[in-house]
Symmetry: C2
Subunit: 337 residues, 2 copies
DNA sequence: CTGAAAGCGCTAACAC
DNA sequence: GTGTTAGCGCTTTCAG
């Protein structure tokens, strides 16, 4: 069943059918109606592969996600898909493992699928001009930005929170509740990534409060997984360690695992130790007690990413960099000392 | 940058380049090497759109997911993607909203992208022969099966747990712990879906234990979301209701929300009320206490789905129906009476 | 072993 | 308004 069959079926040429399919104006109402009828009767669905090939552009946006199973991303992905559809683009989702490089993946995807633009969801903070040069389409970094790279601000877009500032806020909140011995749980501070930025905020908050930073209170998990954070916290509390009354985790998932590790060791949250995080994933609101965290505006992160990208792709605007704010969610995992 | 450029660059014909690209044997080592070199030097990436069009088949498998943000699905999706890749197929992910029909979506996807087969992840239990007729490729239902439809068993495949039996197991477990007043939390029992099957198991377990079923202990949420379950349980306990000592939830997510609702009402789990569920998503193991649940073999569900589908697609085997068993995870949310 | 050429199904000039 | 036709970039017979 091809466009030819439809054309033959209603005695017109393929171009006429094509015009109807693509809503071109110059077709008589009569013919248009006839073709539409044939399409439904024949259950004809256009072959998008052929269409994409014939058109110079595929009208599609690549979404390159690093860690699709990260619950923080799921609402964002949904929003982005919806936004793409509304704007008339197909979203092509591509997941990259922690080991793979998202830029290489994106470059191949763009070449191979003729994408009009790409959105990176989660990624490195240190892209270089050189490596991004091959990506000949506009792109926006969603949930992060190029803090440690050498990209021109005008060459790409980004939508994210201000990691450093929000981390500072979280830690200052703990300080305001009387905490001074504050541990930090992060994944890998020297990888030029989110943890490093948030670690900066942690240090700044301590400094401004006149609290000396204690390196022994910095707990490094190997990634964002529950298992890894659980293990790190478990090892920490079962070893000789400095006293601490609070933990600041760089992600809700890590906080959840930390609370569990504390609980399993007989340490109660918030009675014995307070916990605060950044992210605001849905499930953390359903813990008992709810996790105290700074919620990222997940929907808006996705919406803005699409909006900016489409604007740039269609030449309506230049690249932009948007910083959104978090909204504190006062759960029950922080207590005043 | 097309295959022509590569051909011109190394002074051979496009067909030779194509042969090298597709690892056809009949190319001299010398030419092969030269072409390979050119490909890397030119940073050439084949246009998959053109390739798919030229080939009669696209070597790709559609994964039609109903509710991509369902945390129960994420490990399965990952496994399926990996399995497809290993088998030499590209996975095309397509998410359908709760309102859309997955079969229509799949049919269009197949026609439009020339898919070789499709995997449905979550879906209705009542497909009819008629509606599936348009889907001219093999398909497998992953995590569910056609219990309420009229499909020939030989016309499709399925990989799932035995919902009824597992639900029975969960409820029998509660009974064995001395519970007799057992509530059930489900989403929509009359939609010919998972809840209905598990509800059947609940009834059977009660019957076999000689416990009269009390309709007032059946709590219906409007969907699987946290919010909906939370609300239902909250309304239930704040209204005039029969006494109950345990809740069986059809999904971990619903159980998590239920526990929260109980907690917020001052009811403790497991001290006052026990909770058991089916699914075994990762986060439920990190609650305090861990959720007692029957874990579905998520990885295996995905692996088997791909294996069966590929076997059918490549003519190595016929359709099959596999029932896998759950593994109980004894958390801390059930206590003996 | 290698090249020429005919499509894959559709779009978009370009004629009429 | 409608039809004809030349590609889009690649694969794949079919010759040589």
């Amino acid at each position: 069943m091809t466009i030819k069959d439809v054309a033959a079926y209603c005695g017109v040429s393929v171009s006429t059918v094509s015009r109807v399919l693509n809503n071109h104006p110059d077709v008589s109402d009569e013919v248009r109606k006839k073709v539409r009828k044939a399409v439904t009767e024949l259950h004809y669905t256009p072959n998008s592969t052929a269409r994409d090939l014939a058109r110079t552009q595929a009208d599609s946006i690549g979404l390159v996600v690093r860690g699709i199973s990260n619950p923080f991303f799921t609402p964002i992905i949904r929003t982005i898909e919806h936004g793409c559809e509304t704007a008339g683009y197909t979203m092509v989702l591509h997941q990259v493992g922690t080991a793979d490089d998202e830029v290489t993946a994106a470059r191949e995807l763009v070449q191979s699928k003729r994408l009009n633009g790409v959105i990176f969801l989660g990624g490195r903070y240190d892209y270089t001009k050189r490596e991004m040069a091959g990506l000949n389409v506009p792109y926006v970094c969603c949930t992060y930005t190029n803090h440690f790279g050498n990209l021109d601000r005008a060459s790409y877009s980004s939508v994210a929170i201000d990691d450093k500032r929000e981390a500072e806020r979280a830690v200052s909140f703990l300080v305001s509740k009387g905490h001074t011995q504050i541990a930090m749980l992060l994944d890998n501070p020297q990888d030029h990534s989110i943890s490093q930025r948030r670690y900066g905020g942690y240090c700044k908050a301590l400094r401004e409060a006149g609290i000396a930073e204690n390196p022994k209170l910095v707990l490094e998990a190997s990634d964002f997984s529950f298992a890894s954070s659980y293990q790190v916290v478990k090892d920490f509390i079962s070893s000789k360690h400095p006293a601490f009354t609070a933990i600041f985790a760089v992600a809700d998932t890590m906080a959840i695992a930390a609370i569990k590790a504390l609980y399993d060791a007989g340490i109660r949250v918030p009675d014995d130790v307070s916990v605060i995080a950044i992210d605001g994933i849905e499930v953390s609101n359903y813990l008992t007690p709810s996790l105290t965290t700074l919620c990222q505006p997940q929907e808006r992160l996705g919406e803005e990413a699409v909006r900016i990208l489409v604007d740039v792709m269609e030449g309506r605007a230049g690249n932009r960099h948007i910083r959104l704010e978090t909204t504190p969610r006062l759960g029950g995992t922080v207590r005043s000392l």
